[in-house]
């Protein structure tokens, strides 16, 4: 067997006498090919036309596909992209397959940036007492309410509004997100939350401590049936018997954490773009 392989190889190496620095000849390059990893092989195929011819050989790339992406082989043959390059005889099918699967892992890392910007979004909040009478309403640009936590979390200071909680069972809260800011796109709005916040919670702590109550509602699963996202509205109340409303906080929560601003915008753009 050894002598067979020597005879086979021996025929093929030729030395070019013309050049002073010895270029690696065809068969020498071929012998090195199987020892190269995909990245080096790809770089080597960009060195010169000779190197390209050697290192675009389909069997080299088939070997790499087999070892790194065995399941990919089931996808052959790949459809041609438009057929505009019927002339490219150097494009090996296994190399294209390898490139496809290699790009798959890169694609996974980079989520596209949201197409919706914070500047395009306004939040409108309406609060009704249990009796149905309107207690408080406001609309605020998301940018102005940014809580600067780098999370999808917003807060509005209401201490100047002098709103008392009052002795009721609950408040009804409706939080609406509105897209108004994009030229050439029709405005759109979506209800983020329409729920009740028990007022009793605000009084649960003793006089002299700040009070807090909140409402939470699960949003429809986004896109791929992934994690559950909750919209949350929290009311911060002053200390003292009267319990004045000081602050409203709005946020999107996945499990127990606020989502990032980009994730929140990506979620909103399903409804608003």
């Amino acid at each position: 067997m050894a002598s067979m392989s020597y005879a086979r190889k021996r025929r093929c190496i030729r030395r070019s006498e013309a050049t002073t620095t010895t270029p690696l000849e065809w068969e020498a390059l071929r012998l090195v090919g199987p020892l190269l990893d995909a990245e080096s092989l790809a770089a080597a195929s960009c060195v010169s036309t000779t190197w390209r011819d050697v290192y675009s050989d389909d069997y080299l790339w088939a070997q790499l596909c087999r070892s790194r992406y065995p399941s990919a082989l089931a996808l052959l043959p790949l459809p041609d992209n438009g057929g505009d390059d019927a002339s490219d005889r150097h494009s090996s099918p296994h190399r294209r397959l390898f490139a496809l699967f290699r790009s798959a892992s890169a694609r996974r890392r980079a989520l596209p940036p949201p197409r919706l910007a914070l500047d395009d979004v306004t939040f409108a909040v309406d609060i009704f007492a249990a009796s149905g009478s309107n207690t408080l309403s406001f609309a605020v640009a998301a940018r102005d309410a940014d809580a600067k936590t780098s999370r999808f979390q917003f807060e509005v200071d209401l201490s100047g509004r002098n709103v008392a909680v009052g002795q009721v069972n609950y408040w009804s809260v409706r939080w609406t997100a509105v897209q108004t800011g994009i030229i050439g796109v029709a405005p759109a709005a979506v209800v983020m939350l329409d729920a009740k916040a028990p007022a009793a919670r605000a009084f649960a702590r003793g006089i002299g401590e700040r009070g807090e109550t909140w409402a939470r509602e699960t949003l429809p699963a986004h896109g791929c049936g992934g994690a559950v996202v909750d919209a949350e509205v929290v009311f911060d109340m002053s200390a003292g018997e009267e319990r004045l409303l000081e602050k409203v906080r709005l946020g999107l929560i996945e499990h127990t954490r606020y989502v990032s601003i980009d994730d929140g915008l990506r979620y909103l753009q399903h409804f608003l773009l």
Binding site: I13, L31, S45, V47, R95
Partner: protein
């Protein structure tokens, strides 16, 4: 080496007329020498002419054959199953190989061609391993500089390879 075995030497003659004497068993690492001796030639005083390989290159090949023959003979000698020693010896030989093949690309290429012509598989593999090592982690332009190769792509050809492996172009020009 086993005692009592007759010592047979062969002579290899390079293309520029230099003679190298070595143990026949060491020379048998070459499939070409093996074939020559099998058909009953090469044992005479004229030796085996090796075409296309200069004395400078052949001397290196002889050094390689001697070393690997001696290592193999030593391994046969202590057949007591001392695994640890075997592993250590293998590692030593590997280190020797790496030192031996740490050469400029011109010399390396000559040895690769010689090893291939002589059919010495171990040496062919070693040379290839070294070449691969020289290329690993390098961009196309770095390889070009290191190995003195001219970039002869037309712009259409360049566009094509760019399309084939877009990831290369994030680190190469």
């Amino acid at each position: 080496m086993a005692a009592g075995k007759p010592v047979v030497m062969v002579t290899l003659v390079s293309s520029d007329g230099q003679s190298f004497q070595l143990l026949e068993e060491a020379a048998l690492l070459s499939a070409m020498v093996r074939d020559t001796i099998q058909i009953g030639q090469g044992r005479g005083p004229a030796g085996i002419p090796i075409r296309n390989i200069t004395g400078q290159t052949l001397s290196m090949v002889v050094v390689y054959c001697n070393k690997h023959y001696t290592a193999a003979a030593a391994a046969d000698g202590d057949d007591a199953a001392d695994e640890e020693k075997k592993v250590a010896n293998k590692k030593q030989l590997r280190e020797w190989d790496e030192q031996f093949i740490n050469l400029e690309q011109d010399k390396l290429y000559d040895i690769l061609v010689a090893a291939n012509n002589l059919g010495i598989d171990g040496l062919v593999d070693l040379c290839c391993w070294r070449f691969a090592d020289m290329m690993k982690g390098k961009s196309a332009s770095e390889i070009r500089v290191k190995l003195g190769i001219r970039d002869d792509f037309t712009s259409e050809q360049r566009a094509q390879i760019e399309k084939d492996s877009p990831w290369v172009w994030s680190r190469t020009t």
